[in-house]
């Protein structure tokens, strides 16, 4: 008998931001997440919601507890701005904690889970961390955490963010950090419901990072990552070239990246562990297997 976890994927981007990414050749964040979850476990069934869209029906109560997991994507909103899109999602994150359904997510997702549970996020004084987050080191708690079983103690990951978690709520544990961002992952336990959040993006691949970088070239120029448009286009081309030719060790070496970034099984181990060690055991405990 197969176990078919039912996952609700929450894509928090507003429609204009989603359209901008798609116009630049990127996938929508929610679609990326669904694709990742199904590659990890083909038995997973996913629904996507876009809570930033006006009038969208947000599941609650029994509808929500019908799911076996809630997986949140990244998002270009700012979690400490008081806007309807943000507030709707903080309320929804609280409803998820009330529901007892295990949560997971990248970037914005970790931030919103922390804020919903009483923690604080702010603009990172180091600025934007973009492309590859380097030298992420597990804390001692991280080394012992189910999410990181089988992961190296130090690794690199895809990243793109300007905000960071500054204060975790009671009941949360910091699992990793690097020199740029002191909280790179967190395990939140709130109202008895666990949420595993990453500041980085296991769902990305080189192509998606190339497209995101392309969409952000103007911003990256303004922030000094690249000096001119051509340098940005060259960098995007380098990423795309390696994506098309994964055996080009020379290109990987030029970028200073290794299997942490390039090997999908290494990169997405946290997500696999979430499904196998949190989602499915929770289903079995509820008699849903």
């Amino acid at each position: 008998m197969s176990i078919n976890p039912k996952i609700l994927v929450v894509d928090g981007y507003v429609k204009a931001a989603r359209d901008e990414l798609v116009a630049g050749g990127a996938k929508k964040a929610g679609d990326q997440y669904v694709q990742m979850l199904i590659r990890i476990n083909p038995n997973v069934r996913c629904d996507i919601i876009y809570p930033s869209d006006p009038g969208v029906a947000i599941p609650s109560g029994i509808t929500l507890s019908d799911y076996d997991g809630v997986a949140w994507t990244g998002c270009s909103l700012t979690v400490f701005e008081d806007t309807p899109e943000v507030n709707t999602q903080i309320d929804f994150a609280r409803a998820c904690f009330d529901s007892g359904v295990p949560g997971f997510g990248s970037c914005w997702a970790a931030q919103i889970a922390v804020v919903a549970a009483g923690g604080i996020c702010r603009a990172n004084p180091n600025g934007r961390e973009m492309g590859f987050a380097r030298k992420i080191a597990l804390t001692n708690a991280g080394r012992g955490h189910d999410m990181y079983e089988g992961k190296s103690s130090v690794f690199d990951a895809y990243i793109s963010h300007v905000d960071e978690i500054t204060h975790i709520p009671a009941g949360s544990v910091v699992l990793s950090g690097n020199a740029f961002t002191s909280i790179q992952s967190v395990s939140v336990l709130y109202k008895g419901t666990p949420f595993w959040g990453l500041q980085y993006h296991p769902e990305y691949d080189l192509h998606e990072m190339a497209r995101l970088t392309w969409c952000r070239i103007d911003k990256l120029m303004a922030m000094g990552f690249i000096n001119d448009r051509q340098a940005g286009e060259d960098y995007v081309a380098l990423l795309e070239d390696l994506f098309q030719n994964q055996t080009r060790t020379d290109l990987a070496w030029r970028l200073g990246i290794d299997a942490d970034i390039l090997n999908e099984d290494v990169r997405r181990l946290e997500v696999r562990n979430w499904i196998n060690k949190l989602v499915i055991p929770t289903m079995l405990a509820k008699g849903k297997g």
Binding site: K135, S152, S153, V154, G224, A231, D250, W253, L255, G256
Partner: protein, 290 residues
């Protein structure tokens, strides 16, 4: 910056022939890179150099280890696993054993770590993961490393310049591994032997980005054969990005492109271990004598 005047003996691990090749590509020889680095952290230092591979007399004429406060053995293109009987190597093993016996504070990078390992009864092998070159990434301190005074003020995880084929596979009894990464399981260690204490790194904190760039230019052809570059033009363009960043470390765009940070670019961060060695065992040794 340290304010005392220790006397340090630096042994050049390369043959004189190899030193000429290094100078021909515009690089300092290893002993000079070390002398420059130690002067950076301790401007009052007095340095003597011996050419340990070539000279029959292993110490400068008329001196013994007792005349020095510290002894350094740096890198070399010699290879212990494949060439251990070579007199250019055995001379250096004998010198390392004499250094242990004298109890002088003993520091080494790369070849220095390998020779000290062998001299104390450990084993050095060819690294099955091949050449680690340019930048050794994600070097991680062990718990012993985190607690070690050698790494006081260093991050728990860091990058450092590196170039090596061989690695320490078996440390002698009484040794402590201080750092590791996924390419090389012994990136730094303390070795205690015959009453002396050696501390060494597989990586090269004494190299700056310009030195790495010159190595890439010099080794472009073998690096192409090893798969690091597709063409010579790629190697040269990579090296020239490093040169530009070395000349202007404010070029955040190049640092981002190359994936390097203060671990490589800031000599005070890169040389923290060397500063700690001078500031602790060398200073203590110096004070005990004066």
């Amino acid at each position: 910056m340290l304010n005392f005047a220790p006397r340090i003996l630096i042994a050049e691990g390369n043959t004189k022939e190899r030193c000429k090749e290094m100078q021909a590509i515009g690089n300092m020889i290893g002993s000079s890179a070390y002398a420059k680095s130690i002067k950076h952290v301790c401007p009052g230092v007095k340095v003597d150099v011996v050419f340990a591979a070539d000279d029959d007399v292993s110490l400068p004429r008329g001196t013994s280890f007792d005349d020095y406060d510290g002894f350094v053995l740096g890198g070399s293109a010699l290879n212990l696993p494949t060439d251990v009987g070579n007199i250019k190597i055995t001379r250096q093993i004998d010198l390392a054993r004499a250094a242990f016996k004298s109890k002088i504070p003993f520091l080494g990078s790369c070849w220095g770590l390998q020779v000290a390992t062998y001299a104390a009864g450990g084993i050095v092998g060819v690294n099955p993961r091949g050449r680690e070159v340019g930048i050794a990434r994600k070097i991680s301190l062990t718990n012993s490393g985190l607690a070690s005074s050698y790494y006081e003020g260093k991050s728990a995880v860091f990058d450092s310049p590196a170039i090596h084929f061989d690695e320490v596979t078996h440390l002698p009894a009484g040794s402590v591994v201080l750092a590791e990464n996924s390419h090389t399981s012994v990136q730094a260690a303390i070795i205690r032997h015959d009453g002396g204490t050696f501390w060494g790194m597989q990586y090269h904190p004494e190299f700056d980005l310009a030195h790495i760039s010159n190595l890439i230019k010099a080794y472009a052809k073998p690096m192409i054969a090893d798969g690091f570059y597709a063409t010579e033009q790629d190697a040269l363009s990579h090296a020239s990005q490093m040169d530009l960043l070395f000349k202007d470390t404010q070029r955040d765009d190049l640092a981002w492109l190359l994936g390097v940070d203060r671990d490589i670019l800031d000599p005070d961060v890169r040389l923290r271990e060397v500063a700690n060695w001078v500031d602790q065992p060398v200073l203590l040794h110096h004070l005990a004598k004066h």
